[in-house]
Every structure is written in structure tokens, then in C-alpha cells.
């Protein structure tokens, strides 16, 4: 991890143990959604969960930080993370994909805690940058945090935004990459690899940090700074495991979209630690 600009701020006391408990609960909810008639994007929802929980924890400091899940296909993970973080008031799992409820396969702004519709990949990144710009114009604190997938980085809109964010010196813009190595049709390295990713962001003028994307202490640490005085945006490359927590699917591109029956869901949930 590199040394980052900005000053650490005091957060409401919440231990990594509490966040780990949230992660366990959220993973079980994601499995419940995979066991719905619709199924869900299981692998990416499980890989991004710890990042989401850490980012929402930062947003919970109520300093104006907003979190945008740009890889909107991981909606099941987002709904679960919002619920266990106390932002979403109802358990989304039994309602997921059902008529009359907003928990669609990609998230929309009718869901509490979701500001922007995402799922067309790339768009959540500039949305969050716009939020960061708004905070800066108003002289306010708070980050615009976008969480993108590594496959999503194939979208030109992401790099278009990186160019703009660097030019505008949006130090309060943070792009977290859930680097799980998979995408819809297979492995990122087989389809459109991303060598020297940190160097790419650095070349765009970003600060960079590389963390274990399942280490909640590391994630909260890298996201906790007050960056209102920073002049370079921050890219956090978080290495994750697709399908994290379910040994049967961990690291397998085939876990991208999964529909399972109730018996298998129960078995998988017992494995979650």
C-alpha cells in the first residue's frame, strides 16, 4: 500500500469484527438471492461484498461520502450490504426480483441508499466523480466512491472519467476496483487483460493503493482519510476472489451468474464464516 494524501479522521467506533459479522450475514443473503427463481450474479456479488461494507461504513460517518456500485450486476451484493449496514430497512432477499419491489437485477434509485442507476458498465464512475465535484464546489467534505469491476475497466467511459478526474484534481474521488479476475464470458486475462493496472492509474495522475479486497481492516484503513485537501484522485485496487466464501465456486468464472435450489443454498450458507 502506498502512502496516501489526506488526513485520517475519527470514525464512529466500529470494529473490524462488527464489519466481519456484517459480511457473513450479507453473504448468506446473497446466497438466498441466488436461490430465488431469478438467480443472481453470485460470483461478483460475493467478491465485492467486503469492499461495499467498508465503503458503506465510511459513508456511515455522515460526512457527505456517497458510494456508487458501478458494477451494477452485483446488485444482490449491494442490497445485502445496504441491509446489513442499516441503510436498507427491509430484508431484500425474499423480495429480490419480485413484482412490486425495487430489487431488480441491476440497481435503480428506488432502492434506499442507491443514488444512481447502474448496470450499463462504466456509468457509475462518472456519477461518483460528479458527486465528488459537487462536494468540492461547495467546500464540503466527503468522498465520491465508485466501485467498479476489473472487467468493467474495459469500458472507455471509465478512462474518460479518470482523465477528467485527474484534470479537475478531484482528490475526493475514489475508484475502488474489485479485481476478481472474472467477467461474464470467462477470465479477464483471457478476454482483455489489464497488465500494470496500478501503473495505468498512476499514469493518469491517480494515487494508487493495492489491498486485499477481503481484509476489512485494510479496506477501512484506505478509505478513512479526509481527502478534501487532496489534489489527486485515488485508485484502490482490491484483489478479491470471485464467489468468495463459497468453496464450491470460489475463483471460478462460472460463478458469474448462478441459480441454485434451496437445499444447496442451505448447504452453502452453513459454510459461510
Amino acid at each position: 500500500m502506498t502512502l496516501l494524501e489526506g488526513t485520517a479522521i475519527d470514525l464512529a467506533p466500529a470494529t473490524s469484527e462488527l464489519l466481519a459479522q456484517r459480511a457473513v450475514e450479507a453473504r448468506k443473503l446473497v446466497i438466498d438471492m441466488a436461490a430465488s427463481p431469478r438467480g443472481c450474479h453470485l460470483g461478483g456479488s460475493l467478491s465485492v461484498l467486503d469492499i461495499l461494507i467498508a465503503a458503506l461504513h465510511r459513508a456511515g460517518s455522515h460526512d457527505g461520502t456517497q458510494v456508487v456500485l458501478s458494477k451494477g450486476h452485483a446488485a444482490a451484493g449491494l442490497y445485502a450490504a445496504l441491509y446489513v449496514s442499516g441503510i436498507l430497512p427491509e430484508n431484500p432477499a425474499p423480495l429480490y426480483g419480485q413484482l412490486g419491489h425495487p430489487y431488480t437485477g441491476h440497481p435503480g434509485p428506488k432502492v434506499p441508499g442507491v443514488l444512481f442507476p447502474t448496470g450499463s458498465l462504466g456509468h457509475g464512475v462518472p456519477y461518483a466523480a460528479g458527486w465528488a465535484l459537487a462536494r468540492r464546489i461547495g467546500g464540503r467534505t466527503g468522498l465520491g466512491i465508485a466501485i467498479a469491476g476489473d472487467g468493467e475497466l474495459q469500458e472507455g467511459l471509465v478512462w474518460e472519467t479518470c482523465q477528467v478526474a485527474a484534470a479537475q484534481q478531484l482528490g475526493n474521488f475514489v475508484l475502488v476496483v474489485d479485481r476478481n479476475g472474472g467477467q461474464n464470458d470467462g477470465l479477464v486475462q483471457d478476454i482483455s487483460p489489464l497488465p500494470n493496472l496500478a501503473e495505468r492509474f498512476a499514469a493518469f495522475g491517480f494515487e494508487t493503493a493495492e489491498v486485499d479486497g477481503h481484509d476489512l481492516t485494510a479496506l477501512t484503513g484506505v478509505l478513512r482519510a479526509d481527502r478534501s485537501g487532496a489534489r489527486r484522485p485515488l485508485a484502490v485496487i482490491a484483489d478479491t476472489v470471485k464467489g468468495k466464501g463459497v468453496p464450491a465456486v470460489e475463483g471460478k468464472p462460472g460463478s458469474h451468474y448462478v441459480t441454485i435450489d434451496a437445499a444447496r443454498a442451505a448447504k452453502w450458507k452453513r459454510m459461510i464464516r
Partner: protein, 306 residues
């Protein structure tokens, strides 16, 4: 001296921003040097560079944060390159973002077809909830910009390039908080006459030119072109006439003539528009329109001879 549509936009927004600190102005490298908003409000002016999609999505973030972003780039790049961002930001999110799109139609003329935009109404009209305006002349452009600021709703405002047009008299155009009428009657015509329906800058210019030669014609000018407002305009048109010829610098598909034909099935509606061909030669704005069959002879030929 009047101002072009895009200059009127810049001037009006700059003026409004003096009293409204929430207005921010975004450009994608096509705002030109000496932008008056940049000079007057440099802390709220952002040239984001050649990044149309990012600009509109970032505007969504600004709008959600409480600002009133106005973003501008040429119509072909706003409506086509950034179409998905328009759908998500203006449509699904209903963010209070105003997109101001000059160089609509073939006002880009000799720059070539990459700088032409004859498809924007079709795209924007298919996104529910977006207010679409194609003002004619400085006064109407200023009124449309004011209405966009006051409404907080998503807007797409279509203008041409640098051409100047004398505004039609509109009683409410200068009144803050008062929207322009659904239909501006330049001339109500005689009973039974054909009614020209003009859309946008050049459509209105051609309709006015046609009426000089055929003064018995009626002429209704439409400023707002989205479905909701055309649905308000349609019964007002049908209350006075049954035969309409719509003049618009746009393709037939997705244009206003098509929309009115669906809204007024009992009326006879024809259109003078850009047709189905692509300009392949240079020339100025009117010459390229002529290549498309969008000129005064075409308007006159579309009218009955009674």
C-alpha cells in the same frame, strides 16, 4: 441586434447564475474561447474536455448533490455519443440536468455528416420525462433557459450554430416563471386553410418565408417537442385546423410530423423534413439543407394550391 441560439443560451445562463449559486456550467471542449459564464463565474465553469458521456453522468452527480448543471456540446455528440448517459441521467434518474445542444440538424453544414444531427429528436422523444425544446430566436431561447432553471426537470434544448433569427412575438416570453405556450400562433389563417407547423430555427424560418408567399396559410410554431407537450398542443391545433404541414430540420422518423399524426388521427398531416438521404457535399447550412430537399420550394410544393 439579436443573438444566435447558442449565444443567447450562454448569455442568459451567465445572467441567471449571478443570482443563483447552484447553477454550474459544463462544456466538452466546444464552448469556445471567451465563454461569458467562465469569465463571470470561473469557480462554477468546467471544461471537462472531450468526454461527453462522462460530462453528462457527472452532471447527474452534481444534480443529485443539489446543483443545477447545464451541459453543452454539439448535438450529434450529446444525442448520439452520449445517448445512454441521457437515458440514465435525464430519463431514468430524472436528474435536473439541462443539455444544450447546438449544431442540430445540418447547421454544421460543410463540416460533414459527423457534425450533422438529424436524429436527436427521435432519440430524446423516446426517453420519457425529458422536456425537449427547440427555440426560435433570442427571446424564446432565453425563456426556455429560464424555464429550465426554474423547473429542476431534465431538459434537452436544441439550437443551431451561429445563425440569427428575429424572435416571434410571445407575450409570456419575458415573464419569469411563465412557460411558453404549447402553441405560438404566428398567424391563425382563414377557416379551412392549411396550417404550417414550424419546428426549430430553420423550420420556423421556412414557414415564415412560405407565409410571405402564401399569406392565407396559418402558421403555428411549436417550441416544446416532447410527447407530453405535443399532447397539449395537438388539441389546440385541431381546434382550428384539420390540415397540417410540419416543417422540421430532422428526419421524418421520430420527428414532430410523425408524432402529430399519431396524436391527431382525424387530421391530414404531411411533413417537409430531411428525408432519408445523407449529404455528401460541402456548402453552407442552406445549401446542405437544399441537398436534403429541405428548402422553400419543397415547402411550397408540399402545400395544396387552394
Amino acid at each position: 441586434m439579436t443573438l444566435s441560439g447558442r449565444d443567447a443560451y450562454r448569455d442568459e445562463l451567465t445572467r441567471l447564475a449571478a443570482d443563483d449559486p447552484d447553477i454550474v456550467c459544463l462544456e466538452a471542449d466546444l464552448g469556445g474561447k471567451g465563454h461569458p459564464f467562465q469569465a463571470a463565474h470561473p469557480d462554477r465553469f468546467f471544461n471537462l474536455g472531450i468526454a461527453e458521456g462522462a460530462m453528462i453522468d457527472m452532471a447527474a452527480g452534481l444534480a443529485v448533490a443539489g446543483y443545477k448543471p447545464f451541459v453543452s456540446t454539439f448535438a450529434p455528440f450529446a444525442a448520439l455519443r452520449a445517448a445512454e448517459s441521457l437515458k440514465l441521467t435525464l430519463g431514468y434518474l430524472a436528474a435536473g440536468v439541462t443539455v444544450v445542444a447546438p449544431y442540430a440538424g445540418v447547421s454544421g453544414a460543410w463540416f460533414g455528416t459527423t457534425h450533422h444531427c438529424l436524429e436527436d429528436l427521435a432519440i430524446l422523444r423516446s426517453i420519457p420525462g425529458v422536456t425537449i425544446a427547440a427555440p426560435y430566436g433570442e427571446a424564446e431561447t432565453r425563456a426556455v433557459v429560464r424555464a429550465a432553471v426554474e423547473s429542476g426537470r431534465p431538459h434537452y434544448i436544441r439550437t443551431g450554430r451561429n445563425a440569427l433569427y428575429d424572435s416571434l412575438p410571445v407575450d409570456s416570453a419575458g415573464i419569469a416563471g411563465v412557460e411558453l405556450p404549447s402553441v405560438t400562433w404566428e398567424h391563425r389563417g382563414t377557416p379551412g386553410s392549411t396550417c404550417l407547423v414550424s419546428v426549430g430555427e430553420e423550420g420556423t424560418r421556412l414557414a415564415l418565408a412560405a407565409r410571405e408567399l402564401r399569406p392565407e396559410l396559418a402558421h403555428a410554431h411549436l417550441t416544446y417537442l416532447d410527447h407530453a407537450r405535443l399532447a397539449l398542443a395537438a388539441p389546440e391545433l385541431a381546434a382550428e385546423h384539420t390540415r397540417f404541414t410540419v416543417v422540421e430540420e430532422h428526419r421524418q422518423e421520430g420527428g414532430v410530423a410523425e408524432a402529430l399524426a399519431l396524436l391527431l388521427p382525424g387530421c391530414h398531416i404531411t411533413g417537409v423534413n430531411a428525408g432519408h438521404s445523407w449529404p455528401t457535399q460541402g456548402g453552407d447550412h442552406h445549401e446542405v439543407m437544399g441537398q436534403l430537399g429541405l428548402d422553400l420550394p419543397a415547402v411550397l410544393a408540399a402545400l395544396p394550391n387552394h
